[in-house]
Amino acid sequence: MADNMKIRAVAKNDATEVRVLMIHPMETGRRKNDFGEVEPAHFIQLVTATLNGETVLEAQWGTGVSKNPYLTFRLKRAGAGDTIAVKWVDNKGASGSIETVVVAG
């Protein structure tokens, strides 16, 4: 299920930088659509990142994160060849995940 996410992890001198893009509407539950109807809230609530299977980052999100969320984080212990996975779960129970191998910067 990688069609709704992009990820890139690059090892730099001091840390590995991971950039993630998730394709998601992030509806607040307050926006009206073209028909004047309120779009129900639909947003990512949890994001988890793992390094070689071990959790390194856990995030809880509200409706204030932009549509198609973009996130960057840094890992001290990761280097080229390590596997980083990111998973999200939204308020409707849908989820997405992607993983990548760290490349040398």
Binding site: E54, V56, V65, F73
Partner: protein, 151 residues
């Protein structure tokens, strides 16, 4: 697994797997997502929901955000904590209908650093709350919003 599988068996397996896949995250969600904090309508309520109290301003939190956001729907911000033992960073937008935007927890060598794109409803204070060693620290920056982004 046998390569040849009849249709009934296939459907049963799929339904069982789908059921597991749906049930697991929902259970996890109920336990992990801090509804009290994220649904709070003001900063005070959100902080209370997070259990954050006795918050001290700190110069060791770097909060980077534009002075002027042309489009409040997408405002890129960067937060870095230089406070030793940082466990978590929360981001709050004072004037948003629900101010708590995100709360990040760092473990196992993740640096207390994030870049995130957020929505800002109107001009107001952006806050970063850092939890380190069980204590809370804050930094704030005023961001002027030209067109609000919390439809």
């Amino acid at each position: 697994m046998k390569l040849r599988m009849n249709r009934r068996h296939f459907m049963q397996t799929c339904c069982a797997l789908a059921g597991l896949a749906l049930a697991a995250p929902l259970r996890a969600l109920a336990a992990l997502w801090n509804a009290a904090a994220f649904e709070a309508r003001d900063v005070g309520g959100a902080l209370q929901g997070m259990g954050a109290s006795a918050i001290k301003p700190s110069a060791d939190i770097v909060l980077v955000a534009p002075d002027l956001a042309e489009n409040g729907a997408i405002v890129q911000i960067e937060v870095e904590s230089r406070i030793p033992g940082t466990e978590a960073i929360a981001i709050l937008a004072e004037k948003n209908p629900t101010p708590l935007v995100a709360n990040f927890t760092f473990v196992n060598g993740a640096e207390p650093y994030v870049i995130l794109r957020i929505k800002l409803a109107e001009t107001g204070e952006l806050k970063a709350i850092v939890k380190a060693g069980g204590k809370y620290y804050s930094a704030a920056k005023n961001v002027e919003v030209a067109v609000g982004g919390c439809g």
